[in-house]
Symmetry: C2
Subunit: 292 residues, 2 copies
């Protein structure tokens, strides 16, 4: 079990790089966060992994088997995203059966439990659900397929606060009961921070961060103090964000601190709120308007 390996992946749309020579791995039984601005290329990457789009260049393997146009490998992964694969007039419980046919099994018992928690009517036609319940319907399928790699592109789109909490709880529960890999792409970074074990950030067609959360934590610093002294101390460091509070200035630094410089008494190094760090790291760099 070597996981999913992506090597040298590139994709252009209308002569514009959407993914530029990307190499990443998704290992078995780990929860990944795939973060990035709108239009950074996250959804394109996920669509290529799931064979809904094809790369211009690069190789994709799952447990060393080629992942492109290979049904046995594709049966090990599932992508939930904004593209509806299902007939709008099909009932949700019929979609469960349809999914079972492709994946060989389906956890009906868990699906029923989830339907009760989310209070969704599984006899309803797929096309009849509101935005939030549409997402819930797709989430239930994603959590009940037997696949080892589950990719969730915006899993809380349109969900209210209560439903988002239910999803995060169920994700943790099902992961501990049946470990598998989840890759979660979301814009509600703060809410998911505690769940993630590894974070990848996509920015301007590249992977700009690919680290375990504990390593990210070790590299994250918040330097706080009076404006002049603090600015002087952080000069030359990798500043990813700053905030001020009255006369105090706080700099978010990612990476090594300057061991040669002496920290003034008035300046302090504080523990960083990981959620804020992710938001700063994600917001670095630019964006572009077109996607998919």
């Amino acid at each position: 079990m070597t996981g999913i390996k992506i090597d040298g992946l590139s994709k252009k749309f209308r002569k514009k790089n959407v993914l530029d020579n990307i190499s990443v791995e998704f290992k078995p039984n780990k929860i990944y966060g795939l973060l990035g601005r709108n239009g950074a290329g996250k959804s394109t990457l996920l669509n290529i992994i799931a064979n809904r789009l094809y790369a211009d260049q690069g190789t994709l393997t799952l447990d060393d088997e080629n992942l492109v146009e290979n049904d046995s490998a594709l049966g090990k992964l599932y992508l939930m995203n904004d593209v509806d694969m299902y007939n709008k007039s099909m009932r949700l419980d019929k979609i469960f059966e349809y999914t079972e046919q492709f994946y060989g099994s389906f956890d009906y018992e868990y699906a029923e439990k989830l339907a009760e928690r989310f209070k969704i009517d599984t006899h309803q036609k797929f096309g009849k659900f509101s935005t939030g319940y549409h997402t819930i319907a797709k989430l239930i399928i994603a959590l009940c397929v037997p696949a080892d790699y589950i990719f969730l592109d915006e899993p809380v789109l349109g969900l209210d606060a209560n439903h988002r909490t239910i999803f995060y709880e169920e994700l943790m529960t099902t992961y501990s009961e049946r470990p598998r890999t989840f890759v979660v792409a979301t814009h509600l970074i703060g809410e998911i921070t505690n769940i993630l074990e590894h974070v990848m950030i996509v920015s301007e067609s590249k992977i700009t961060l690919d680290e375990d959360v504990e390593d990210i934590l070790a590299k994250s610093h918040l330097i706080v103090g009076p404006q002049a002294e603090t600015k002087d101390y952080v000069e030359g460091l990798n500043i990813v964000g700053k905030e001020s509070l009255g006369n105090l200035q706080g700099y978010y630094v990612y990476g090594d601190l300057n061991d040669d410089k002496i920290l003034p008494d008035t300046v302090q190094i504080e523990r960083v709120d990981l959620q804020k760090m992710f938001i700063y790291l994600t917001n670095q760099g630019g964006e572009n308007g077109v996607n998919k």
Copy 2:
């Protein structure tokens, strides 16, 4: 200018009440928040106001004119929601022109400025946008139509943190430059709290709260203290939420406090975080699975 008046509105789907005898008003030049759980009936209410659905009972007027099947009244309002009114192969800038034809004018200058801020390509076909940019495209149209009543159903669906901030800023700017009514239905309550002037909460097919934000603030209390004394003090009050911190218990109370009871020295009444109050008030009551 008396605004939009809705009186005795009811709507059933498959014999189930989705809206049950609702009466509300939207006054000119005010920013409303329309809050509620998934499936509470918010989208149905907005669809009925915009004549995309018809009520079983009730009357709707805009400045005392009947709002049902009345083009001159309908030209004064705009609804942005998850239903795409536009041909997927139409370019965004062509949709601007199409919108101008219906509404008589369109603020092209502002649309261009917004497109630059959001970095969206207006020459792109509508169907080619990713989830986030799809929302951005619709937001730009909503902010540039000349209508006096703009209804935004989930205006930040799929937007990253940066884009959400841009939207909130632009909403405040355009509102102050050209006052009109905005009705915002959103599940990211915390982010919008500072912008709202009036809040309506839909729960179980009814309007359960319809108040100006300053009145809500006056009625909101957080009672904190040791478990036993605090519980005793809040007994009989309208408790909408509770939280604990170590040995301390906090009760969120909405409405009058008990003037007859003496507040123990160990118990304190604190100012409530409005965002938390909205979340508690919104999460009261049940939900149901089917919508639209």
